[in-house]
């Protein structure tokens, strides 16, 4: 078996992996290998053909493929080695990366490993929607891939369960291609997708959004023939008597994304049960020294621009780790306080600037975000609104922080 040394092996050539590679190169790290399982790098952006990407990172609005191409072109210009059609079989705790491709198995002994595998969709099985198992039930991303990459139409009369962004995007996409989208049903009393997607994907096409509703049964034993939807109470339990049968041939599920951390677990990386991504310090280093993670494999992002920025920040940590043989210790924990679902990074040094990324638990208006350390307010921000759908970024200055004491972030009305 081929075995080579590499300064950095990046697992995944999607937006996180490519941004990390380019930034690492710019920081002087040259011996980089990006392992990509597809023929073409770009990850999920290859199928996200709608526009709206890049406003933060590039100051203009691009489609997904164009956004990915920006980084890919840069990587190619810089001569960064990207091996396509290659799957990582294993990453070990001592950073031995085993890959498989048509050329055979290969192993790379890496100075640092960057985990950038992205996420997968929550499926029907994980939701345990009762009923039969007809065809015509697709997760939104799968439907998107069939339509945008494989030239395959998945249905004509469509119900969407869940108001995640991909589901909203697919409501519009399928409408444009002649399907009839009957409605979007969301179990929570608020939408999970971004407000602008509610506006331009649903409202523009008069597709109704039914909050506090869910699909309670699936009908048909060959192809889907319909679904039963029901209203739910404040604890998300279906309310008897509210059942309504809808005839449809397609059910699209947009009910959440899960970081794809099987390789991370093999490597011994500790995961956060809330994000289901790695526990990281402010340099994006996981619990295993020399293994880093960024992007949707770490926590699910709302906007790809933040994936790129996070990966670029990771690259700085990796470059420093390689140059200095280690990173400053991060011993202050960052905790999610009142109103906060999760917050990253999990630990900070207290001696350097850091940006926290967080999501709130429920929608709030006119609220106050507060970061406290040792009983002292480090930062206070007023916000007109805070939505679970949106990731909130909070930059903290080193001079406001102290070493050794934990931080807590809260968002309250």
């Amino acid at each position: 078996m081929k075995c080579e040394n590499k300064d950095v092996v990046i697992v995944g050539g999607g937006p996180a992996g490519l941004a990390a590679a380019v930034k690492l190169h710019q920081l002087g790290v040259r011996d980089i290998l990006v392992v990509e399982r597809e023929k073409q790098p770009g990850g999920i952006l290859r199928q996200c053909i709608h526009d709206g990407f890049g406003l933060t990172r590039f100051g203009e609005t691009l489609s997904g493929p164009e956004y990915a191409q920006r980084f890919l072109s840069q990587a190619q210009q810089l001569g960064i080695e990207i091996v396509p059609d290659t799957t990582v079989l294993q990453v070990s705790g001592d950073r031995l990366v085993t890959t498989a491709s048509r050329d055979g198995l290969a192993q790379y002994k890496a100075g640092a490993v960057v985990l950038a595998m992205g996420c997968r969709e929550r499926t029907r099985g994980a939701l345990a929607i009762p009923g039969e198992r007809p065809t015509g039930v697709f997760t939104a991303g799968v439907a998107q891939a069939y339509m945008n990459l494989y030239n395959t139409m998945v249905g004509k009369r469509v119900v969407i369960l869940g108001s995640g962004d991909i589901g909203l995007i697919m409501a519009r996409r399928m409408t444009l291609e002649g399907a009839q989208v009957l409605g979007v049903y969301e179990i929570q009393p608020y939408a999970n997708g971004l407000p602008r997607n509610i506006e331009q994907c649903l409202n523009d096409y008069h597709i109704p959004l039914h909050l506090s509703h869910t699909v309670t049964e699936i009908h048909g034993n060959a192809r889907l023939t319909g679904v039963t939807v029901s209203a739910v109470d404040e604890r998300c339990r279906p309310i008897p008597g509210t059942e309504e049968r809808i005839d449809c041939d397609t059910l699209i599920l947009s009910v959440g994304l899960l970081p794809e951390n099987e390789l991370s677990l093999d490597a011994g990386v500790l995961l956060d049960p809330r994000t289901r991504g790695a526990v990281v310090d402010q340099y994006m280093q996981t619990s295993v020294p020399g293994i880093f993670a960024a992007g949707n494999v770490l926590h699910v992002h709302d906007v790809v621009d933040f994936v790129s920025l996070e990966a670029e920040h990771l690259a700085e940590g990796v470059a420093r780790y390689l140059a200095e043989g280690g990173l400053p210790r991060c011993e202050s924990c960052v905790r999610a306080g009142a109103g906060v679902g999760h917050v990253l990074p999990h630990t900070v040094s207290g001696a350097e600037d850091v940006t926290l990324s967080l999501r709130v638990r429920t929608p709030m208006k006119n609220c106050v975000l507060e970061v406290r350390q040792d009983g002292r307010t480090v930062k206070k921000m007023k916000m007109r609104k805070a939505l679970p759908a949106e990731m909130i970024q909070v930059p903290l200055k080193a001079e406001d922080l102290q070493e050794g004491a934990d931080l807590e972030v809260s968002v309250q009305c």
Binding site: M1, R37, D85, T87, L89, T98, A100, S101, R102, D103, G104, L105, R120, E121, T123, R124, G125, A126, A128, P130, G131, E132, R133, P134, T135, G136, T139, G141, V142, A145, Y146, M147, N148, L149, Y150, N151, T152, M153, V154, G155, K156, E177, T216, E217, I218, N221, A222, R223, D249, E260, E262
Partner: protein, 483 residues
Amino acid sequence: MEPQFDVLVIGGGVVGCAIARELTRTRWKVGLLEKNLDVAYEASGRNSAVLHGGFAYDPGTLKAKLCVEGNAEFDQVAEELDVPFKRTGKVLVGNTPEDMASLRRTLETGRINGARNLEIIDKERLHQLVPSVVGEFALWSPTSGIMDPFLYTVALAENAVQNGARFFFDAEVTAIRREDGIYHLTTKQGEFTSRWVINSAGLGCGKISDMLGIHGYSIRGSKGDYIILDKRVGPLLPMPVYPVPSNTHMGIHVTPTVDGNVTVGPNAEYVDDFDYYGVPATSIESLAESANTLWPCIRREDYIRNYSGILSKWVDADGTIHDFTIEMRPEAPNAVNLIGIESPGLTAALPIARYVINLIRQKADLPENPDFNPRRKGIVRFAEQSDEVKAQLIAQDPNYGELVCRCEKVTRAELLQAIHNPLGVHTMVAVKYRTRCMMGRCQGGYCQMRMAQMIEEELGLQPTDVLYNRPGSHPFTGRVREQ
């Protein structure tokens, strides 16, 4: 007239396939008619996947005798047919003095039936065997095991085909008549003729029996629901864990699969619709609640799928469940009628097949097929090999280096073999069950598009021709842009 076949088997479940396979040991021309698009679509592929020890059936019954026989020979069978099998043993866990009394009775029944090495074990021993279980003592059956019922049925079918049998799918038998000593069977695929007919139709056995002129069987479907758990919990369960059995039901149990998942189930409920496999929410909750008292490791985030199966039982009006009935009757000469083949039909499939053939021998000469080859090779699974073997596989066939399914690490080479399977079955589920592609935690999120594309390319199909599992199960409605 000369009939097309010497014998036609109706039903491509594990028993029908075992009968077809055993019949290819003779020179008879063997055919099998299956109403679904693949073998093992009903009860054979939808159960607990356990090789039973034979202690749960009344002494003297066919269930007891054939189960014990099937259990004893299964190492050799699995080896010949190249199918996964683990003799894990299993425990029936009890807590109360009543449980103990019940387990002692079960043990005694098992001894009479010939089930080997049964013993009652104490709490300490139980926890050595299964540390995560909750219970005071158990009946330990070291000869019980786990297998892949789908692959086992496929292997029997493929071995039958390899030895000359012909299989026909989407061929539900809708009428049978006998003229001049020859049976004529009407199906969607046309009429089939044969000297002998074997009714191995599972849930349809009552209907076929009526068509043969043998009346009076009341066949009921007993539906059981299951939850499948993520492989993450697999290491916590080294063997099937059952509660103390009641008179009619084995009880809700947890079972490791040969692939490392865990199944939870089944409940049992008589149903009239033999075609409905939906799993109600209440079922899912009660299964988890019940099994958690036995094995408290069942968490919602580990659910990856649920499924159900329907057992075919011959039940009297007073609720009595009959033994396996395997008969030749004067109303239907040259026919073997199998009624009420339920659990332990999977374990007993080959002994049942031999029993059927011995019945036929009473009336007909069955010359031996000198060319019969009992061995069949399955698809070599990349994920299960060492790095050295993986490298060799890729060197021999680069398609082994192209991973299509990331969760189960299934390669293009395996998919190609499954798409061009010896039975000529071409549904997505056929490829899925033969390879495990789409069966991992992402449930096809990454791989199903690739699988569909390969099926289209390899078999020259349009998207609208692709079927998922049964007739009418089109996943796709067309192209986005016509070519």
